[in-house]
């Protein structure tokens, strides 16, 4: 279960579990987390639980709610986040999320949609909300490009900054260059002519690319360059 730790001037003043659907923070004594500071409003902020998420919501505009130093209105909390209320710090700890298996598929009951959900017309499904992919953590991709040596695009440089890029001509000889964390890799896609790397046909196998490799595919000749 997630936990909140209130501190000021380096000493811990109060700790509690986030075990309520709506946990209030403010100067008034009825709040779940009471912070006695003139820079804190009576009802300053709430922490809302939705499934595994805890969402920090600032309630008014007079006194700001700072999360990791930035002003926020509403934000999903992440393990280790620090909220600042006046001279007080409230740290959010959720170690279970930090290192567990929450990405396993689990069934829970859905949120009750109230009347106002009607303003999101159901229409053809899947069109009104585009769900983004999860934020990627700490994955570094190499930076590479190809310089066209011969062919209609001779002299051009093409940056390889997407997951895949194709070269050649459909039907004739098409090759794909995939960008992966460990480097770039070329594979034959279709056509009778297989791509060549440094004058050697790569056949049907995936071939790693090295800085300075010369690729021949269909009518083009390309030089692969890897930024170090």
């Amino acid at each position: 279960m997630a936990k909140l730790v209130l501190s000021s001037g380096g000493s811990i003043l109060y700790q509690c579990f986030v075990d309520k659907e709506r946990l209030s923070v403010g100067r008034a004594s009825h709040n779940h987390v009471v912070i006695d500071d003139p820079a804190v409003s009576e009802q300053h902020a709430v922490i809302i639980s939705v499934g595994n998420d805890h969402i920090l919501q600032n309630l008014q505009s007079v006194n700001a709610t700072l999360l990791n130093g930035s002003r926020v209105v509403r934000q999903i909390l992440q393990h280790g986040d620090v909220m600042q209320f006046g001279a007080f710090y409230l740290r959010y700890l959720n170690p279970k999320i930090a290192d567990s298996d929450l990405d396993r598929t689990v069934l829970i009951s859905g949120l009750q949609k109230r009347g106002d959900a009607a303003q999101h017309p159901s229409g053809p499904p899947g069109h009104q909300v585009r769900m983004p992919a999860a934020r990627l953590a700490n994955i570094r991709f190499p930076k590479g490009r190809v310089r066209v040596i011969t062919g209609s695009r001779a002299g051009h440089t093409i940056t390889l900054d997407r997951v895949v890029a194709t070269f050649g001509k459909p039907g004739k000889g098409l090759a794909v260059v995939a960008r992966r964390p460990q480097g770039y890799f070329i594979t034959h896609v279709e056509g009778r002519r297989h791509p060549r790397v440094n004058r050697q046909s790569i056949g049907a196998e995936t071939h790693p690319l090295r800085n300075g490799d010369v690729i021949d595919v269909a009518d083009e000749s390309l030089e692969f360059l890897l930024d170090s």
């Binding site: 998420d53 069934l107 999101h120 194709t166």
Partner: protein, 274 residues
Amino acid sequence: MSRDFIEIAAVTDAGSVRQFNEDSIVTDPEIGVAILADGMGGHRAGEVASHMATQIIMSGLQTQVAELRSAVAQHPPLRAVEESIIRANRAIFDAAQGQPTYHGMGTTLALTLFFDNRVVLGHIGDSRIYRLRQNVLRLLTSDDSLLRDQIELGFISLADAGDSHNRSLVTRALGIEQSVSAHLREDEAYPDDIYLVCSDGLNDLVEDADIALIINALKANLPLAVNHLVQAAKDNGGYDNVSVILAKVLKPFPAASHKGWFSRLYDWLGLSAG
């Protein structure tokens, strides 16, 4: 109908982190069916649920498609899919009731049935179906997931959704209750359309724009395309099982005959049924 009106390539992978694969996929290009299930439950019961779902639905559809083709069955293909899903739901539910270690097991589902120039799409949970038509990738299903509910209700913004811890909480699944209501729809299918059926291990880790780019770039080589999709999910973390099915319509596939036995008898007698 000839054997090759549809080309299917499929792969399932445990991912880069998990030891087990709770996803299950089954395809049959001969009858134009692709089924994917992402199981859930302790003691590896998720594997049991997802395999039961794909096997039971596939065997149900093999029988039903044969009936549809010979025009023995008069009901629409959508009904055939629904019946097979109901049967699988019941079987998983009963198995879960009868076996303590299977208690609470369930599975998501996403399937396509191509029949008579149309495709029936069925899904439950957060497994998805997309379609690439004229280079544009479009999501055709709507996740039964808490994250989606959160966004629709305005609890969190789309921009923040990538930070949510609720990515894998589904609000509907097969085999959890005695009855289930699947999302079913029918759509026209045209030559060169490519349908993507995937588990959340793909779309959680690879942005739609990259999914579209990979399928577009490699559509001439579907096995290579599915491998690159799985590779992209694993390269981006691969913390979940990832399953990908691509089904490409090669040519029109009208049903051999829409006629009932009576008009075929007329044909056989050389008479016109009018």
